[in-house]
Amino acid sequence: MKFTRTSQQQDMATALRDLLGSVDVPAIARSWAAGETGDWWKVWHDLVDMGLTGVAVPEQAGGLGLGPVELAICLEQLGYSGLPGPIVESLAVLPHLLPDTSESEGRPWLEQVAAGQSLATVAIAEHVPYALDADQADVVLLCESDRVTAVEDPRLLRQESFDPARRLFTVETTGATVRFQNDAASVREAFDRGALGCAAQLLGIGRRLLDLATRHVSERHQFGRPIGEFQAVKHHLANALLELEFARPLVHGACLSATSGASCSGRDASAAKIVAGDAAYAAARTALQVHGAIGYTTEHDLHLWLTKATALRSAWGTPTWHRRRVADALALDPSVPVGGPETM
């Protein structure tokens, strides 16, 4: 099996990276956290024009009909850029909650989100109690085990978040709601896509933290040379890189089992989420350390990725929950490799 990215996937990543590199994302993240959302929407519309919102939406609903691999590649770039917003929710989770059949009531929402006319966010019982950036979303989808309810005008109450750019809300239903018939499996699968999307985002965040740290230790001189030349510093960075590179195949493997719908897809999403979360968190601690702890201050850009890595590590299911799921799956059948039986 060939694991290298196709030229098309590389071009998508480059286009996204170029676009996001041309805007001041740290400034956008700060104003987003403060509730000033104008600049964020400008970037979002550019991303919509590029086609980002349709990546995982089937072609018959106006999307590009691409798979989890492309989605993960995009989310990694978005994590790298540090752009806030309900991105995993809109891009990865929503297409799995709303069936795309033409007679489905969810179809118009799916089409609008794919076309970038609507923004969606979700709350999922047990693991995702708060809806991210719900005040900016046109629709909040509330999911219980096999029930999905779309709420258009909810009463929202803002909650504290470790990452101020992740604005969390409790959702109370007030007015009109639409209930979709979902089976428990599709809600579970949507959650898995969220966890996998979050893992991909964490990979990008970890890589950005490492890049920021590497640049800092090349520029900061002490005892007449860059501090990155000292073993105590460069070994830390090498370890962070190793963790990230070992997490990457797990994220890609989970994309493959999600694509094929293999029975191990939940287990693989969990494994990817645990390892990507740990790797990004390790990169965050290392970056903070080699920066001489300056990233603690909110004024320093490093802070944005530090808080995001820490918050996302326990979002979309805690590491403990995911670990238990991997352990249960392995106890049941230890022989299926990451990515499903066909990857062997």
Partner: protein, 260 residues
């Protein structure tokens, strides 16, 4: 109207660029290769003209096999098709030979109305090829355009040089070279990237465009690079410690350099 855009793959501007020791040609392996930024602007301008006037945009590129990455970028931005002149014999060609090859490649296309090029590449920086191509085609050349208008019959540009801005007009067919002020190039959309794979790219050899191998390449180039050396490292500047005389010392330094 049918528009041809001349594109070149160059080493990334931010990477270290060097010449190979053996024959002083560009060492392409030592740096990441990208579509030259000025060519992205040329493609953008062609796409704008196409959107206003209709027609097709064809990318013409001369370069080794890996230059197809640069071509793919232009196609994913929205160009319709491409001609890639790729031949071992072209290695080391100078500006005149490059212009001959490009003009011959344009000659293989039917009814070209407008050729758009960047004013100069970021690696060679000769800035001569667009004018040479126009001369070989026998078409009017409108160079250093910061603004381009066309109605499908004629083309009009604002030509910006050190001497000022001139408005220049010509009937089509014509060649225009653009400066970096012309526009902001678009990002390829995902749809464009997916469509680029299916767009026709015809790869031509030197013989296919009607030239013979001994007319091109390092061996028969009219100009030869006989030696090359890396730019000398920047020397440390003069430090003036101000002990009441700082201003005077600065003026003395500047007048020593004949600057005041």
């Amino acid at each position: 109207m049918n528009i041809v855009v001349l594109v070149k793959q160059v080493p990334d501007t931010w990477s270290e660029r060097k010449l190979s020791d053996a024959d002083h040609t560009l060492d392409r392996a030592s740096a990441d290769a990208v579509l030259d930024e000025i060519n992205e602007r040329a493609v953008e301008e062609a796409l704008l003209a196409k959107e206003a006037q209709g027609g097709e945009v064809t990318v013409v590129c001369m370069g080794p096999e890996r230059a197809n990455e640069a071509i793919r970028k232009a196609l994913s931005m929205g160009a319709d098709s491409a001609v890639h002149v790729s031949d071992e014999a072209l290695h080391g060609s100078d500006a005149v030979q490059t212009a001959r090859t490009l003009a011959a490649a344009i000659g293989t296309l039917e009814s070209v109305d407008l050729v758009i090029a960047g004013n100069e590449s970021t690696d060679g920086r000769a800035g001569a090829v667009p004018a040479m191509v126009a001369e070989l085609l026998g078409w009017p050349q409108l160079t250093y355009a910061r603004k381009l208008d066309t109605d499908g019959q004629s083309v009009s540009i604002e030509r910006e040089s050190d001497a000022g801005v001139a408005t220049v007009e010509a009937n089509l067919p014509a060649l225009v070279s653009v400066t970096e002020k012309i526009n902001e190039p678009r990002y390829p959309s995902f749809k464009g990237i997916m469509a680029a794979k299916k767009k026709p790219v015809s790869t031509l050899s030197v013989a296919d465009v009607g030239l013979s191998a001994d007319e091109v390449g390092l061996g028969s180039a009219p100009t030869q690079v006989v030696s090359s050396a890396p730019a000398p490292p920047k020397e440390a500047g003069v430090k003036v410690t101000d002990e009441g005389e700082g201003g005077v010392q600065i003026v003395e330094f500047l007048s020593g350099q004949k600057l005041v």
